[in-house]
Amino acid sequence: MDIKKGIPVSLGVAIGEAFLLDHEGYRIPKRFISNTPESIEREKERYKNSVEKAISELLEIEEKNKSNKDIAVLFMGHRFIIEDPGIQEEIIEKIEQFYYTAEYAVSHIMHKHSYTLKSLPNDYHSKRSIDLEDIENRLLKHLLGGQRENLCNLKNPVILVAKDLTPSETVILPQDRILAFITEIGGRTSHTAIVARTKGIPAVVGLNAATSQIRTGDIVVVDGGKGIVIIDPDTSTLEKYRLQQKKEQLRQEKLKTILNLPVETIDGYTITLRANIEEPSEVKLAMQNGATGIGLYRTEFIYVNEPDPQEENHLEAYRTALKDLKGNKLIIRTLDFGADKAFGLEDFAGEKNPFLGCRSIRLCFEKPDLFKKQLRAILRASSIGDVEIMFPMISSLEELLRAKAILEETKQDLSKENISYNKSIKVGMMIEIPSSAITADLLVKEVDFFSIGTNDLIQYTLAVDRINQRVAPLYKPAHPAIFRLIKRVIDIAKENHIKVSMCGEMSSESHYLVPLMGLGLREFSISSSILLSAKEMIRKITMRRAKEIAQNLLGCITHEEALDYLNKEFGSI
């Protein structure tokens, strides 16, 4: 049993078999299996399977290189070595008599032979140890779970272990077969974390060396609420977590009982809870959890399936979302590609400082055709449902006016073509760059609503790259600067009678949700999976109390003081 601690990013307990996504750059730790006949048999079987797969792979290579005999013979040699009864016996002996894992047995024996070759006096011979390394890698590749593309063929539910997952990878994952995520890189607001929370899949990120310490087939416990990962748990630990899982299930069932109750405080203040989505197919889950619309549709995913999506691709996605929304609001955010979410669009290469680079609305200005295709589709969708449009990453009034001018042009184009759209479509902007929070009083005259995006706002205000683990602890939502900026934006919106909401991760946590309500926020957009627990929290508190908490929090002069206070108020954070 091995207990590891990472960053907790998505609630829930999962117990299951690990599936390792990365096999490049692995190190094989000295690991043992238990000395029962079953586990020995299982390990031998794993070894034999890897041998079979390696052999058929090599036969294919030989066949393909028939015309180049040098290459074909070399790989035939590799195959003969893998098939070598002597070597097979040695490896099996390590498993049977010394309880080595198949990986470790293969690695150990191949290293041994490699060492023999290396110590030969003849230079040519000693260099041949490279062949043995190649053979070792081939076997390990099969033992460690194979390539990424095989992922779609997963039959049984697994706990996915990877260095990191790119957005496009998370998209192709068969999510119904993922029990939990474990990654080495990332923080609370990294992409994997967001996707995990959206889907309600437990996740722990920032777990150093996860891919070298966990191997495919290991039984693993993931506690996504505490950030704990237990490899090869003992019986009593397993029992403990099974119990916790059951409790969590009961809690979820209990939460279902408030599904149809209004989202209001004890003293009668109504709060609007909407959901964040990445794909239209998620609308259903959002509605099932009581969302009254979508407060943030991250449209970047349209670009995953179709690198250069046309107007029709966009429209198709928006239509699907609207169909399931049944008249509820859909706030579509225009393209917000950042380097952290690059899907292989050519233009991100070489940016030294991508978070301060050409992303999001800046990219749209650079590529007006790409921007207009999306705007046309959003406008067309506005004639079939309650659609609002939201511009991301606005840093100045000029940018806002420029985006609005392009929207106006697009509207006129549609009018000329006699295509219908909602002429008074509401236009809002994200407040996620400090300059826009500071100049909110200037921007407010030009929009129908503000939506505060806390992830970027915190990152830019505190100058912390949220993915860089060395500075991740400096990413502090409770920093006094953040509350002051948020308060300013809310106050200005209220004075000017425009709507203000929050769609950042910050509002996903109840200890922030309450003080944010106290600051005056009445609309939130959060992950579907926590809609009900947010509702439960709201229904348990009075607005008077929320205001008191907000006031007290504004009085805290350091992040630590603020956290201590929230801890006292809400229990452990």
Partner: protein, 92 residues
């Protein structure tokens, strides 16, 4: 049945993985046990890893030793291989 013959490694790079692979491939047709002996060292001529671990360099003399029904034929074929095989020219 037993058979023996002397052979010399003529390949510049020695008895490395490619000729070793050809030897194993060639001997797959025969049921007899075949050993290669070099001074004190002895190896199974049907195992690539054992052959290359001999580290036999160019000019090395080896003794081919076969035991089993078709040992005579196996030794003859192997001897011919040592005499005729040009490295970089595989046996198919």
């Amino acid at each position: 049945m037993e058979a023996r013959a002397k052979a010399t490694v003529r390949w510049r790079a020695g008895l490395h993985i490619r000729p070793a692979t050809c030897i194993v491939k060639l001997l797959q047709k025969y049921t007899c046990d075949v050993k290669l002996m070099q001074d004190q060292a002895i190896c199974n001529a049907k195992s690539v890893i054992q052959i290359i671990s001999l580290g036999a360099e160019c000019g090395t003399s080896l003794i081919i030793d076969a035991r089993g029904e078709d040992s005579q034929k196996a030794v003859e074929a192997l001897k011919a291989f040592f005499d005729d095989y040009e490295d970089e020219d595989a046996l198919w």
